[in-house]
Symmetry: C2
Subunit: 482 residues, 2 copies
């Protein structure tokens, strides 16, 4: 059997939209555009992702908080760049009951303006720093672009945001490093390779000093941003009067950072690992890691089911998430369902397996089947699940690498976008004018320069900016994006 990825790559958009519903992730028929309903199976996967995030936040000393979803207009308007960036896309609550509100409220599009007047109350002295909190909440953006489940929505229902305050720029930089480390652990957990770019000035988060974005490669060669880290320096601290007393009794503005993610993480997992049969879930987050399908023959039903349950009990005791599909339908239909839902490993057991104390393992990632001994099955399954995870990562890594291309000219770049798309790296003088010109010529977005900074200059000796012809100072990455 061969892994087919024709529909996956050639009709990605339809493949994805359909799968979200058929695999039980979300229902898109809710009667408000861009707002979808999480279904139990999809939410279970997302909860497994969140559990990992909670553990990483705990490990790194972030306290979990929950802020109200409504922000008074007066708070929202304290930081000029931030308002400018968001005011066109916020939902306004103007009435309550039968009366207009004295002060209008917005539904948070992100929580800087909700949190930072509280930071000013909470943070008093250097002993309170670093101050690190996070929350996973619903946020709202009035998207005018085409919406797509988990990717571009008007209600981001699993919005993760960590907010920190520090006594120096250096400590804020250390925080950004920690965010990148957390992000890297998470990406490994999800088996999704990614690249990090420092956004160009014109595409920073509204109010940020600088912004980093982490992108993955989607099957159609477009990139998806799934994580951002921003260093705000003292910009918001000044707008919200967040001061701390230093050891020698002075008062200084704090330095701040944020780290953001969302249900796009799940979108990336679905898109990157899938194939024409449906989802392929990494075992780390699969609600069911192993499904056992009994294949009884007449007169041997009881034995086969008993054997299936015996195996299930053993796997369960070993901490493996297992399910026996005892539905009264044909095995082929069961295979179809669980392949669609991305269960990483299937065990088939029939009368001959019962007799010979064997089992058939079918891997979802490779679609390969193998007969193994009943004896020592738990160990074989553990090893196989690890192999599946590693294989998913490797396959995705190859796909990402093969979709990053370095070129010297606009013509070469255009050719890439006409062919397989992906990320194009071009030497750049660093001037906004040339950057914008390249965006226009390529009909692509500049993701930014490779990060960490030293990577942004690798191999640019002697290269020229293809727009102005001056010497290149950076590598700039371009992509068609989601």
């Amino acid at each position: 059997m061969k892994v087919e990825r024709k529909k996956w790559s050639e009709e990605f958009s339809e493949w994805y939209n359909e799968l979200i519903e058929t695999a039980g992730i979300q229902d898109k028929r809710y009667p408000v555009k861009g707002m979808n309903i999480w279904l139990p199976y999809g939410l279970k996967i997302m909860r497994n992702i969140e559990r990992f995030i909670h553990a990483e936040m705990e490990r790194t000393g972030h306290g979990e908080v929950l802020f109200p979803a409504l922000i008074p207009e007066t708070e929202f308007q304290k930081e000029a760049e931030h308002i400018a960036g968001f005011e066109g896309e916020v939902f306004w609550v103007t009435h309550a009951g039968h009366d207009p509100l004295d002060i209008k409220l917005i539904l948070r599009p992100t929580s800087e303006t909700a949190m930072y007047s509280m930071f000013a109350l909470w943070i008093r002295s250097h002993a309170d720093l670093p101050f690190k909190i996070y929350q996973i909440v619903n946020t709202y953006r009035y998207e005018t672009k085409h919406t797509r489940p988990l990717i571009r929505v008007r209600e981001i229902s699993r919005f993760f945001e960590a907010h920190t305050a520090h006594d120096s720029f250096e400590d804020a930089e250390r925080q950004i490093k920690e965010d990148l480390e957390i992000f890297n652990n998470l990406a490994k957990f999800l088996a999704i390779p990614y690249i990090v770019s420092k956004r160009p000035e014109w595409d920073k988060f509204p109010g940020a000093y600088y912004s980093l974005g982490a992108e993955v490669m989607m099957p159609d060669g477009r990139t998806l941003q799934i994580g951002t880290m921003h260093n705000y320096r003292q910009n918001f601290a000044k707008a919200y009067e967040i001061l701390y007393e230093t050891e020698d009794g002075n008062h200084e503005y704090v330095h701040q950072t944020t780290f953001g993610m969302s249900e796009r993480l799940l979108a990336a997992v679905i898109a990157i690992h899938g194939d024409d049969r449906g989802m392929v879930l990494p075992p780390t987050i699969a609600p069911i890691q192993v499904v056992i399908v009994p294949i009884p023959k007449k007169d041997a039903e009881a034995d086969v089911f008993a054997y299936a349950r015996e195996i299930a009990d053993e796997l369960k005791a070993a901490g493996i998430r297992v399910h026996v599909d005892e539905r009264d339908i044909r095995p082929g239909r069961k295979f179809y369902d669980w392949e669609l839902k991305g269960v990483p490993l299937r065990i088939e057991v029939g009368p001959r397996d019962v007799e010979g104390r064997k089992a058939v393992l079918a891997r979802r990632d490779t679609l390969m089947k193998e007969t193994v001994e009943r004896e020592g099955l738990v160990e074989v399954i553990r090893k196989t699940l690890d192999e599946i995870h590693a294989n998913l990562y490797t396959r995705a890594e190859e796909f990402l690498r093969s979709h990053i291309k370095r070129v010297d000219t606009i013509e070469e770049a255009k050719a890439v976008f006409e062919d397989r798309r992906g990320v194009v790296e071009i030497p750049w003088c660093g001037e906004e004018e040339c950057g914008l010109k390249m965006e226009e010529e390529l009909d692509a977005k500049m993701l930014g320069t490779p990060y960490p900074e030293e990577k942004a200059k690798e191999g640019i000796e002697g290269k020229k900016c293809p727009i102005c012809g001056r010497g290149a100072k950076f590598i700039a990455r371009f992509a068609r994006t989601y």
Copy 2:
């Protein structure tokens, strides 16, 4: 040492409001009335409560979903009684970006009207029934009454709602029984005794056929509703066209129920178990079950800290949530902090304990101290935590029982409300007119009649309704409520 509960009972309102902030549960200074910020410690406790709820939902076959928080005006207006009950207290989203919305949206006050048009799509045949889902989400009510954290708020941020659909009234009744069983398990887990009443007709949930409410007794003798179960019969099914195909091919409306709870569960735990020193948490939900306070003498610091950590490691390995307070402050200050935060058990270790291989246990519930052997400490602690839990329940149970009084006349009832308050049970003819009259005379709310139904008639033989003098048909419960 004696457990002081003077402030707790005599100035409960101030005691509670202050504790919510000093114990690190919520910050009330958020600049929107009735919307508060969950702080890390409070949220950890709430998450432990939610974890239990999730497990019970899983056990009973409810799927977890997440619906959008915004409901189109058009959906909201489909069930007449429901709108009438809520329209005075919903928040309206009227604009997005710079434009007015074509169809105004409300922030969900509860999710019937968000969910039930989807039920009509999801439920097709008898094979889909019973259909059971739940979510824990933020909901919004424009409360005009005095707000109070966790109890009466405009953003209920941890609103639990289970919604089910059934093929018959009987199966819906079975669901209500299951809800009561789940609720009972949860109450045991939280060590909070409660009573269940069937609400009078005039106080049913808007759109319900009947409503049950579960109340706890607060320190000031007022009751707090912490759980509700509603049987909707086919009322919403008719408004939202939720039909299923029966086995013989007919189409019938489903029967529906809901089950609701919120962060009031935590309010109840804080209020019921606390004392003048602060919170007393049941070990089941305490983020820290055991705090170890080293009490070093000069020159013996290292030994004492090493001993404390050794004990902590052993407890941790045994699955007990333990924390060693190594802060550089006086032990008395540490005792104060952890008593305020309700840690059920404190271990004090000093040089003599190190030497004699002993430890001092201080119980938060009784404030009693006891010296125990280092040998077998884990077992002693496990047992003590269980005893604390049992003692909290027993103490609360006695308090509840002593605050329920059965009387025959309005005068007796008034005397109860003038004295210690609590729940007053009065014979009632069952007529709305007499019930409302009693509410007025007593300046109290009728909670309803004891549930299950057979309890509603216990001991009413020969009793008369004190308003009309006719023979009593039920016992009616009255209370001042939160």
